[in-house]
Amino acid sequence: MTEHEPHDRLYVLDRTDLQQLFDALRTRGYTVIAPQIENNVIIYGAVDRVEELPIGWTDVQAGGSYRLARRGDDALFGYTVGPHSWKRFLSPPLRMLWRARKTADGFEFIDDGSPPPRYALVGVRACELAAIQRLDDIYTRGAVIDDDYQARRGAAFIVAVNCGQAGATCFCASLGTGPSVGPGYDLALTELMEGEHRFVVAVGSERGAEVLAELPHRAASEGEIELAEAIVAQAASQMGRTLETAGLQELLYRNVEHPYWDAVAERCLTCGNCTLVCPTCFCFTIEDTTDLTGQIAERWRRTDSCFSTAFSFISSGSIRTSAKARYRQWLTHKLAGWQDQFGNIGCVGCGRCITWCPVGIDLTAEVAALRAEDVGQPPAEPILEMA
């Protein structure tokens, strides 16, 4: 992804011409990935036609609850985010790293897995673009570069969408990650339903400009620009949740021994749903296998969750056996440790972990409760206990 200064000019693309965007992307060799309905939720998957999008649908979200509902219009992007995030396309949940054959002097590598695909990601929300940039920090800015991720990411054409409404579990405004999309997109759309169904288009890269040039479009009028801005401002005013970020890192560090973690643990099932739906949770495990003959070995990389006891297993057993230790690890890493490691908060405010928690544990409420009971000073020296 090459970033360019966003062009200050905005354009308009008619709804009836949106298929031409999909076609132009496909002609350029991209597999178009966009929102669609499957099993009564909006997920991301390959699409050919605009009609495959969740036309006229919206989502109603709450802690532990997600339902689809009719909007009463034909909006294409009239919902927020579902259980999928784009990480499944940029850092797939299961990927073969290599295959090797046993030889007389050990083993030799015979396969490096499949070449990375070229995706056009259509419908990337502001919080999701911020999440992708969090993944960039982890996979491409350390001493070792995940070249598979880098290739997928570099190839990915991003069509972002400004949110026209916020869900009840949304809090991107608290984290400064939305609802207006920041830099890093190729094209950004704002869907206008008033009058003619159309999109205000912002161009964020040269290749974005090249694609737009192939589509019927015109300059946006002052009125259309104002309408687009009002729509995003409306979403900003609808945030269902807030997260106070001031002093968040120290709050979590100094409350490491707080009894409040017990209260969370009473509800937490340690199912790991939050880590699966989180667009920034990046942990993986390595699995080594052989075929039945024992002659061919493979190494796979698979999504992992800090909510399993196996995650922290060492020779003496698991480091984090209790539910409270695992929830604390997840939340503290996301909101505090991440700041030490990458210079920003690991949460983008998408609200997925709240919606998809089977018991409705709410990160924003847990932090607020911890803040209300803040011990206010560093914990005492650890008590020494003999094993």
Binding site: C283, I286, R301, T321
Partner: protein, 292 residues
């Protein structure tokens, strides 16, 4: 704290790519020694002359058994002899139990070395106090080799070693040789005396109050069970060896060694990159905290 983030965001001059960094190189087992009931040492030599095992004391490798799995094990050989990679481990899991059955000539995979090291270069002119418990002696042995090879650069060198029983001690012959040297102070203790043991009985931390070193000019290097290290830190502090003079090696689950898989998270630290060797004052806030 921000310095950690800044270091992370610095781009390396020569990129290392995950697709190659996740592939082990082949090493042949050249020697295998049974240290005690469940602990053994393997010596490895790279199959290809292009590979070598250069490392600094305190670092670890990922050892791979074909198709079975891969585990992090500290390097316990001599850093001056990088073509002979030495690893001591206990047979406790699927991979180490298979490793226990390796024979000379067998080939396994190696990735590494990874992680930070004991900062011996920066400790010249100091009294070096090494406190090891059980198999914790393994990642400290390379430090001892380096200290002995450069003995004139350091003041007193003291090794305090505790094992469960005399039979559980690692590197017994080497311990005897070191103890016989006039320029090393070696004190050994066991939890439980068996056979004809006439030495110290008790915890290794009990040796700290009377060990011969000058606290103000000392640097302590610790490795062993976490609870042992917690008490050792306390005993050292009582003698005036502060957290900024104390280094310790942590064990955490590790899968990638590339600071990507997330398994070795420890507070703000990623142990495979920021550790396993930490200066105590940098982890004081989290070390010894329950289940961190």
């Amino acid at each position: 704290m921000m310095q950690t983030a800044l270091r992370t965001l610095q781009r390396p001059s020569t990129p290392v790519y995950g697709s190659s960094a996740c592939k082990p190189y082949r090493c042949r087992v050249t020697r295998r020694v049974q240290e005690n009931d469940d602990t053994f040492t393997v010596e490895l030599t790279p199959v290809s002359a292009r590979q070598h095992g250069a490392f600094t004391p305190g670092q670890f490798n990922m050892l791979y058994i074909f198709g079975l799995g891969e585990i992090p094990i500290s390097i316990s050989g001599d850093p001056a002899d990088p073509d002979r990679l030495v690893h001591t481990t206990r047979a406790v899991g699927a991979v180490t139990r298979r490793m226990a059955t390796l024979h000379e000539g067998d080939v396994i995979g190696v990735r590494g070395p990874f992680g930070t090291h004991w900062p011996l270069e920066d400790l010249k002119g100091k009294d070096i106090v090494i406190v090891a418990g059980g198999i914790g002696l393994a990642p400290l042995r390379p430090a001892l080799y380096q200290l002995v090879a450069n003995r004139g650069d350091y003041e007193r060198v003291v090794l305090l070693y505790g094992a469960r029983t005399p039979e559980d001690m690692l590197y017994r012959a080497e311990l005897e040789r070191w103890r016989a040297r006039f320029d090393l102070e070696v004190y050994v203790t066991v939890d439980r005396a068996t056979g004809d043991w006439h030495g110290n009985v008790g915890l290794v931390t009990a040796l700290i109050p009377r060990a011969p070193f000058e606290p103000r000019n000392a640097a302590a290097l610790l490795c062993g069970p976490e609870v042992m290290m917690r008490y050792a830190v306390q005993a050292l502090q009582k003698r005036g060896v502060g957290a900024a003079q104390t280094w310790l090696s942590l064990e955490r689950n590790m899968k990638c060694g590339m600071a990507m898989c997330g398994h070795c998270q420890f507070g703000p630290h990623i142990v495979c990159r920021d550790g396993p060797v930490f200066r105590m004052d940098r982890i004081q806030r989290f070390f010894g905290r329950w289940e961190v």
